[in-house]
Symmetry: C4
């Protein structure tokens, strides 16, 4: 068995979850999975339909986005993934989709407010929407700069990427991540559902208040705190 | 056959209806079923994906939420179920989901108004939305207090839990129940549909009036009154 | 073969289309099919889940709603069907559902305006919404009076039930019909789609104008007029 | 093998994608595929349900809409297809649907604004909505005039049909096209998704600004420009 076969297999399986969960139309999404010991990640090849994917088609790339192994061109978003792995050491998998409701929030250029416990079960923060990128950034190395835009957004807002594992790039679409590929894909589906619920809530009551901090903390901590009691 | 095998089987089957009816994403929901003669109930284990469930994984708990039988930790919402069984003697099954439209109404902190016969076929009341819990309640025993919040809401509004078998906890999500697990799950699906219809109705006509009392009573009584003539 | 076996078979098959087309939750709908030579119709039994239906369970009823053949109680809406068959001689099948978007319009108590060719392909009129029934009518024979409410709505508006084969009962839900069971069920699905499109159109542009009469007539006549050229 | 068998097969397969992608209810759509060397195209027969289609039922028509081969009457929209093939030499396949969100925009008589990169990945322009046709046009040869309405819209707005491969006919529904049948069908699904996202975006934030030109050009060119780097 070759060195990266298991990594490619995991990346393949994670990518195949996106159409199954209804998060992508055609090829509008990609998942990568990192091998931190070798400082590389496996990512979906660019523009290949999900029904034609197999583990061998995954591309191995290092954290400078240099291709290490693979016959196909990697996702056009590869440099964004590379930057995030390079700067955020706690994450091991990244998901990018254009899922419908999360993308609508990104296009609206608004943070997704924290309106209920479904949201607070996953993060204590709003889902941040980074502003659209500056013309300078767009004209430089666009995908690399998209990575910096994401990181700058978290730095400026003092958010921790291991606590808030999802965000929106304004005018563009969502990115999620996690310590495992399972968690990163899970987060992509949760974000889409939270985005839909927030949309509906504000349609029903445009003055719906944010969740109060006691409830935010209670729900987050019962799932994630040192005294968590959710799960097995 | 062990004492609680049939109860576990019923709880398992009822839980498996939730993903089939589109009411849950991942593990966002749980069903319990009570055995009143033994003052216990069977409930889903916490955080276990539906595809990994089986009847043996159900947990048997008494009405003080003490584990009677089972290898796994029960749902983190177990104490809420226990309180409801303890105080509401007519109910034998409880369902909690984060279904999309019902949760959006809970997040909006508004009762679902009674706008049509689909609603009146199931209850003569609005679907009540309990206010978000006080900071004191949240900091005490959160899940037990959630049970009291539900009961207090019904007491204050003079609602009968055997007539109105569904409600929303503000900022959180819906709870439904019934005399049987079949009815409790049925109610969870009906609530989601009624929540969606009410949302759409008010988007189409924000001044849509409530159903008049003659029509409410007619529809409720043809299904539930002493002279009901619906069903076999 | 018994006298009404073919009629029961047709009614069974038409009823089974409702869940397949996504028009019903649980038992919220029914189809009947008439045999005009014998002045009877076959209709779904009341409250029986679709998965438990079979042709033998259909109930044969005459146009005064008297049961002619069948072991089960017929749909609680049977008298409404009977009145429509009695007064509208051109129709041979009736469908009643609580499909989501059409029911939301019924709850909003508004006609569905004619906003595009998808609507005009099926009727030149708005989809009329009859007002909620008077208290007197509700307290009399409710289901019979529902039939009269539908007929009165068409009479007052000078609509022809063989041209406009769909309508809404205010606060309640849609009824559709046709010369065949295939057409009546088809109309139920078309109404739901037209209701959804009209809802979305007015959300996008609350001032969207009605279709002009030249376009209404062109589309209706290319499908239904004496010089129609749609279909084979 | 007969001369047009391969063309009919391709048209059949492309038509069958429409229900699979959720773009049509019943028979509300059609795909044609051109053979430019023989100046003909294959198109779906009128009003035939998708489940009854087969390649032999496709109709071969020339660019003046004269039937060349086939037992069935071609789609009632055939003349619209013929006009587009005649005047727009770069296109080899045309799709017409009444897909829900795109049709709602057509009924609202508004262009779909360019609000995000999902849109800009496919065209740098708004999705144009041609005005409803004049009474004169409707009364003349309606389907031929629909073709001219589409072409006039592109001419007046100086749009290039090989760059913007989708549009709306006001009050009616969408048309898409492409260099291949695969691309034309792909565009129909993309349009529906972009229409849904734009609708949701403006519901969330009615003041959501259009995408800025640097981002429009970046996204379009990474997929379509001379230095494109998307796909294999």
């Amino acid at each position: 068995m070759k060195q990266y076969d298991a990594l490619k297999q995991e990346a393949y399986e994670a990518n195949m979850q996106l159409p199954k969960l209804g998060l992508v139309l055609f090829t509008f999404g990609n998942v990568s999975v990192a091998d931190r010991s070798n400082k590389v990640f496996a990512i979906k090849p660019s523009g290949v339909p999900y029904e034609n994917l197999n583990p061998k088609k995954m591309v191995i790339v290092d954290f400078d986005a240099k291709i290490i192994e693979g016959q196909l061109r990697p996702s056009s978003d590869t440099k964004t993934h590379a930057i995030l792995y390079k700067y955020w050491e706690g994450i091991n998998s990244i998901v990018h989709t254009h899922s419908t409701y999360a993308t609508a929030w990104a296009q609206s250029q608004l943070d997704i407010p924290i309106l209920g416990t479904t949201h607070a079960d996953h993060t204590t923060s709003v889902i941040p929407c980074a502003p659209p990128m500056s013309d300078d950034m767009i004209k430089r190395d666009y995908e690399t700069e998209t990575g910096y835009q994401i990181i700058n957004c978290f730095t400026e807002r003092k958010l921790d990427p291991s606590e808030t594992e999802m965000m929106l790039v304004g005018n563009h679409a969502p990115f999620t991540w996690g310590a495992t590929s399972h968690k990163a894909v899970y987060n992509a589906a949760v974000l889409e559902e939270v985005a839909k619920m927030a949309y509906l809530t504000l349609q029903i009551n445009s003055a719906a208040p944010s969740l109060k901090s006691t409830l935010i903390n209670k729900h987050y901590e019962r799932k994630h705190g040192p005294d968590s009691y959710y799960g097995q």
